[in-house]
Symmetry: C2
Subunit: 340 residues, 2 copies
């Protein structure tokens, strides 16, 4: 079985964007506020949005199931206030739930959290509980920068995050660290802010005792871990200079990397330096890069092809990357995948 742990509903019907536009317009003109639950999208529209897109690509690429979440770039937690984020997140998560209800074998839900800059992270717990307990979701996307490019909130190692981590541990769900769009003109969203967010979160983990305090807490760092595997020597050296334990002890029981790296040399590096137990197959499709690589004739984000080409991976390694590790990191998927 091939499990893609990183997909977003980037092809959601236009009505979702209209809802969001109204919500944003209402920040200045409350009369325009869309009614909660007013989103009118038919089941057929949902099917249509997926059949020629994610589902088509799943079939072409041999992907059985995708862990599916709202559009990361549209979380935009800095817009409005905590209520704005609450309603927007509920709306997006409900739509993902409709997808997983229509295609329970193909899509498993991962929720957006109603974060808001400088609002205590514990405020997102009710929505996490709702998504996991009521909608059957198996994980969340956690934005390490709810200010969307200004990095105003506390690092992920700060105690203010601990209530959320306690709940994640209790529910046995991991979080994918995922920033949203950038409202800072210095940072291109998918080219800089995404990758920087990954690198930044890793270093927050490296310098903290988070996993001493939460030995079973689990994070997936997407986009191949940002810059981390490329600079694995730097990180091993920094940890050593700081007198920290080896990275294998310090965080590799808790931190995982996805395979959203869009060329073979990158995937080779990832699988060379990061233990195979810490690598989870993912594509990010339909996501940041949508074209065909003229050097290979294949889509940049068809990451399975790269993994298939890595010579030193054994059959057992591939089984872990494509399936086994996801079952371990996201244990709630087992009941869904193995149910009838």
């Amino acid at each position: 079985m091939i499990i893609d742990c990183h997909g977003h509903y980037t092809t959601a019907p236009k009505a979702l964007g209209v809802f969001r536009d109204l919500q944003i317009a209402a920040l200045e003109d409350p009369v325009r506020n869309p009614a909660r639950g007013s989103l009118a999208i038919s089941d057929d529209e949902i099917r249509e949005s997926l059949l020629g897109a994610q589902i088509k690509l799943q079939d072409e690429r041999g992907i059985d199931v995708t862990l599916f979440s709202p559009i990361a770039g549209h979380m935009m937690h800095h817009i409005g206030n905590a209520i704005t984020s609450q309603i927007w997140s509920e709306t997006c998560n409900d739509l993902i739930h409709r997808v997983t209800s229509l295609y329970p074998r193909r899509f498993i839900g991962v929720c957006q959290l109603p974060q808001s800059p400088l609002v205590p992270p514990k405020s997102v717990i009710p929505e996490l509980e709702r998504c996991v307990n009521e909608l059957g979701f198996v994980a969340c996307n956690l934005n390490p920068d709810p200010s969307d490019g200004h990095w105003k909130d506390a690092p992920l190692s700060d105690r203010s995050w601990y209530p959320l981590y306690e709940k994640m541990v209790e529910l046995d769900v991991p979080a994918m660290i995922h920033v949203s769009g950038s409202c800072n003109p210095c940072f291109h969203p998918t080219g800089a802010h995404y990758i920087n967010g990954d690198t930044t979160a890793f270093m927050q983990f490296l310098t903290s005792d988070l996993f001493r305090d939460f030995p079973t807490l689990r994070f997936i760092i997407p986009h191949g871990g940002g810059a981390v595997p490329y600079h694995w020597g730097r990180y091993r050296g920094l940890a050593q200079d700081m007198g920290r334990p080896p990275l294998s002890e310090l965080l590799l029981n808790n931190v995982y990397f996805d395979t959203c790296v869009y060329h073979l040399p990158g995937i080779e590096l990832l699988t060379r330096v990061i233990p195979v137990d810490n690598i989870l197959f993912a594509t990010e499709m339909i996501g940041a890069v949508r074209g065909i690589d003229p050097e290979t004739g294949n889509p940049f984000d068809d990451t399975k092809r790269y993994i298939d080409q890595v010579e030193w991976l054994t059959g057992e390694d591939r089984a872990k990357i494509f399936e086994g590790n996801a079952r371990k990191v996201y244990p709630r998927i087992n009941a869904i995948l193995d149910g009838d």
Copy 2:
């Protein structure tokens, strides 16, 4: 000849730090302001600070000459105002000049610029001219985030930077893109902010027409280009999706990567995906990582060893990486190296 294009005077005598401490204290209590030029460091102290450190390592590692600049992490352009930065930069650059005067065969000067958040970049031109024309420096370090972790200034593609670029072109000096320390608790300096700064700058170049406007402007992105080579497929794909020219046309006549990547797999990736003409040897020593890699028994930052091990590099390739490319990117070094 082996030219290290990235070294900082991290072992500067303590008096430099005392001067800076007084300067910072004077922001609250002007009476404490150190007199301009009051820094009292003897030639012997300078020799002593280098002989057992950078010079010893140059000799051990076979490095002939280092392009040497003030401590990047101490530029801290956000402190005080433009005058604060002006005096601090002059002080640091003058000290580098004393180093290059004492060891003209071993160290060539690269200057710190007196940047300050939200102050027009053209304000640094006089110090750049002084360093190049009067002190014999060959390049500058350009901080893409003078707010030191808050990214409040305009992207490097903004027109406000153009007067500085015009001067760089006129003087025929490149800039190494180099952030300073971080005053944002989200960003570890050498583990996150440095690498993010590199990645961010690259994406600012990718999305702009900077090199159409300045065909001979040259930047070195240190730390192996941040996350860029690891995600080279992503960057090629993003450029293609945006309808931009191939990266080779768009920026590889202007953007270069150093080899401050502290493990063999990282250097292998760098030399696999980035054209050899765009790679410049560097160590960052004595810098971010100072220990011995237990996996190899050698210093993490002894990057020459990694380059020596890359099987597919020819003798000609190595000559470019170790010497030829530096002579091309920093043309002012030729008169110094080939003079008598």
